[in-house]
């Protein structure tokens, strides 16, 4: 009896230990929960955040194994063996960039739209990505 009680108490404690913090930090920083591209780099935003259900998108587009396509180290010569997954784009693409860099908004727009145009699938007009909630 006390053994069972101890087991339940232990399980309860463990659950609380793991669930409790997530109530405070919200969703963990992982691409499987990602539904929009949220970044505070732009400051005052002009548009609602772009829709991008990370994993579902990449499965539909059949690029779920090609992290390097988007998460490159050098967009001009992306290396299939090397992915920068986990690094936000803004780390290498500042909002106000030097002349030889692609600024952040253009980096997103170019990466997303070039592929959609090429594949003739996926959104290309402003409001298709910047969907109002």
């Amino acid at each position: 009896m006390t053994g069972k009680l101890a087991l339940w108490a232990g399980l309860g404690l463990l659950t609380a230990l793991f669930v409790w913090p997530t109530l405070f930090v919200g969703p963990a920083l992982s691409q499987d929960d990602m539904t929009h591209i949220i970044t505070d780099a732009f400051g005052v935003k002009q548009r609602p955040a772009s829709v991008f259900v990370h994993d579902e998108h990449n499965i539909k587009a059949e690029i779920e194994d090609d992290c390097w396509l988007c998460h490159h180290f050098d967009g001009k010569n992306p290396d299939p063996m090397d992915s920068s997954a986990g690094m936000p784009c803004v780390d290498c693409h500042p909002v106000k960039a030097d002349p030889d860099q692609t600024p952040l908004m253009q980096a997103f727009h170019k990466q997303c739209k070039d592929c959609h145009l090429e594949k003739k699938a996926g959104p290309i007009a402003c409001g298709e990505c910047h969907v109002r909630p």
Partner: protein
Amino acid sequence: MHSIYTFVTGPLVWVAFLVFIGGLAGKFVYLTSLAKNKDPYVFSYLHLKYALRSIIVWLIPFSTRNMRLNPVMTVVTFAFHICLIIAPIFLLAHVIMFEEAWGVSWWTLPDAVADVMTWVVLASIVFFVVRRRVVPEARYVTGPKEFVILGLVALPFLTGFLAYYQIFDYQTMIILHVLAGEAMLVAIPFTWLSHVMLYPMIRGYMGSEFGAERHVKDW
């Protein structure tokens, strides 16, 4: 969606701008050659200083007697024309599209400001419609065509607004918006919207004749 959207935002934009600019250029050549044949003195009267003086004076609110006599119309007309011209040229979305196509960009308005300017344009057009039905001297020169043309000017702003707020089906609305803008551009050379060019031509001539020849003001 893809093929229609890329068509209306690609080749069709070229067609619209070519007809707009080519049409106005053609009209200019036609009108000046007409004047050369019928009334060649028009050209001997032309005087740069007085032409510019008249054009500029008529661009300043309440500078002319007629503007002071109709203060409401003056305020609405000026607000309307300023918003009509400034909002589309400096709209963020338009500039982004130019930048992505040609790599050129320029200063932009915050979307919230462009929003208010769109309201001003639409409200002004409602005012013009009411005025054309109510004020006798305006009603006298108004036929169905006038309302169609006012509608043609309103449509790009109305559809742009609805697309921006994603009211009704977005994909349909954004394509309608682009088509409406192109239709308005194409209509300019062939309707009284050509006052975008006739205004400086006529003021330039009137200013020259009144200023340089008769030595009086034309306002």
